[in-house]
């Protein structure tokens, strides 16, 4: 269990709070909406509704993370969001291709959605056109992936945030600031097994103590790459959802937990861990849980 000496930022977006001391606010859970080929919005709406419902029941904040891989899917996906996500509820857009990032930002601006957008993500691959577009079409919040190809340790994450590890003209935090992005989430960049994968979790308290920013990661990605687990049948799926507990236990604020279909298991699981953390944080550090914390939901 952790409590940090550095004052902790707590950013509001819609009705969700990101950050704070462990035990204060529940872990924000990002459920991935992956569309293979033509988006299947019917199935997506079912999964989204299920995640929102279980989030509401448990007091756990949930955010859909939308993977956009082709330009022609931008508008349909944003329209889907407008129809199926409650007004003002935040969402994240997860895009890899730099030119597509520019187009998505412009569409978010056109749809007047930037105030609800979590940009996933800023990293050492940020391009000049992307920077220019981010200045014009600035999302409310951005996720910084602190991946340092030169150093997989927690120090490497600090370095890339601080000075870009000599791969950028400045550190990623300064890049975000120069673009006018004020609400920052730091993703500590899960790596494959054998590449210091544990450092993604170990970096959570390190980065949080250094900057006071909300931190998290997609630790389940490490499970996906742990091929040996496949020998044990359904155990791999169990470990995948359970891995997210590491985020709560290492003082993190958010988890990108993988496919949204996992929400019915991940959300109550994380509510349970958040309650364990909260009980100890309150007893030992005097940190009270927020009003919508699952501890207050289940033990009013």
């Amino acid at each position: 269990m952790f409590s940090f000496t550095k004052p902790q930022h707590a950013f509001e977006l819609g009705s969700i709070t990101f950050g704070g001391q462990p035990g204060e606010h529940p872990t924000v859970l990002f459920g991935g909406l992956f569309f293979k080929g033509v988006p299947d919005f019917k199935t997506a709406s079912t999964h989204l509704a299920a995640m929102l419902k279980i989030g509401e029941e448990t007091g756990m904040p949930v955010v859909p993370d939308l993977f956009i891989r082709k330009e022609e899917y931008i508008d349909p996906i944003l329209s889907f969001l407008e129809q199926h996500l409650p007004e003002a509820h935040p969402f994240s857009v997860d895009i890899i291709e730099p030119s597509l990032k520019v187009k998505v930002l412009e569409s978010l601006h056109d749809h007047d959605l930037l105030a609800r957008t979590i940009y996933n993500s800023l990293h050492i691959g940020v391009t000049a056109p992307e920077r220019e577009t981010l200045k014009r079409c600035t999302p409310a919040m951005a996720l910084i992936v602190a991946f340092n190809p030169k150093d997989a340790s927690p120090d490497g994450r600090i370095e890339v945030l601080e000075n870009g590890a000599h791969l950028l003209d400045r550190g990623l935090l300064a890049v975000a600031s120069s673009l006018g992005i004020e609400k920052i989430l730091v993703d500590t960049a899960a790596l494959a097994p054998g590449e210091n994968s544990g450092a993604a979790l170990a970096s959570l308290p390190v980065v949080k103590e250094e900057y006071g920013l909300p931190v998290g990661c997609a630790i389940h990605n490490v499970v996906e790459k742990s091929k040996w687990l496949s020998r044990y049948g359904s155990v791999k799926a169990t470990v995948d959802v359970a891995s997210n507990a590491g985020v709560a236990l290492f003082g993190g604020d958010f988890a990108l937990f993988g496919p949204i279909e996992h929400a019915p298991v991940v959300v109550p699981l994380m509510a349970w861990f958040d309650m364990v953390v909260s009980e100890y944080a309150e007893a030992y550090f005097g940190v009270c849980p927020s009003e919508r914390h699952p501890r207050r939901v289940f033990y009013p």
Binding site: F147, D151, D155, A189
Partner: protein, 300 residues
């Protein structure tokens, strides 16, 4: 023409742009990030220019972080901090040099480049030793192990000590001797900048070859005339701080001047310093010019 074995070489770094977007694409694809394409590009340019003793190009990092990142007791921040005893934890540049060995023909030689212990010490913030000599010798001992590991794969080890031009400590020979003693291959000491004040000390260094910026500081020829020695010399012959590409005639004249001063002690010709700060096409043109001039004076 003077027919003897004088080789064209490099001092160390070569300007290869490493795009963050390429590295992130590998990260998102779950692949191990590979630096080998950038090493391949650097070595490809050197060999295409005809250079006979090539380096790995030091594409991974600036030359301080390249070493401190991999040494125990060092913590990379804006400036590296020494936070514990400096400990060698295994090969730093050895893997990259092995890649070079696979890339080049058997007749091409390789120089393994080390950042010098005094320069490393002076570039770091010492939070542990609180004693410059002890910190420097700590780096020297770690570099001794790296040099020994490199010696299996390289034809020469070069120590880059730019800081000596500013300040030559009383223990300089001791620190360099820690690395060179018992080394199974020849060792070169590169000190850039104006070293005219310290030539009398440099000629007594426990190394086989001295390397300087003779092109940017031709007055060094006069300084060396005052201190005859048997030390081999590497003649910096194209500038590393000027984008103007020298003509072959100009470099030939420079090499003839070196012949007048050093005679048969000239064993290598090279750029004045690492070429990291030059545009790639300029760096390449300078290497090609260097090689052509060397062939005019010493044969192919």
């Amino acid at each position: 023409m003077t027919a003897r074995c004088v080789t064209s070489s490099v001092v160390g770094s070569y300007p290869i742009v490493v795009p963050g977007s390429e590295l992130m694409a590998q990260y998102f694809a779950g692949e191990n990030v590979s630096w080998y394409p950038y090493i391949t590009d650097a070595v490809g340019d050197m060999t295409e220019a005809g250079i006979e003793v090539v380096s790995d190009g030091q594409t991974r990092d600036p030359f301080i972080q390249l070493f401190t990142r991999r040494l125990g007791g060092c913590r990379v921040r804006a400036r590296t901090e020494v936070v514990g005893p400096i400990v060698y934890r295994g090969g730093i540049t050895v893997d990259d040099v092995q890649v070079v060995r696979r890339l080049v023909s058997p007749s091409t030689k390789i120089v393994g480049v080390l950042s010098g212990p005094f320069t490393l010490m002076k570039s770091c913030i010492d939070l542990f030793y609180h004693d410059e000599r002890a910190c420097c010798l700590g780096f020297a001992e770690a570099l001794r192990q790296e040099a020994a590991a490199l010696s299996w794969f390289v034809d020469e080890v070069s120590i880059d000590e730019p800081w000596f031009a500013n300040e030559l400590p009383a223990y300089a020979e001791e620190a360099i001797g820690v690395i060179s003693e018992g080394l199974s291959c020849p060792m070169r000491l590169h000190v850039c900048g104006d070293v005219s004040r310290i030539v009398h000390r440099l000629v007594g260094m426990p190394v086989d070859v001295l390397s300087h910026e003779f092109k940017a500081s031709p007055k060094l020829f006069d300084a060396y005339l005052q201190y005859p020695s048997e030390m081999g010399m590497c003649i910096g012959s194209v500038r590393s701080d000027d984008v103007r590409v020298e003509s072959v005639e100009e470099v030939v004249a420079h090499l003839r001047r070196a012949e007048e001063v050093f005679g048969r002690r000239v064993v290598q010709v090279a750029p004045d310093c690492g070429q990291r700060m030059l545009p790639r096409e300029v760096a390449f043109a300078k290497l090609r010019c260097l090689q052509q001039a060397k062939e005019v004076v010493y044969g192919g």
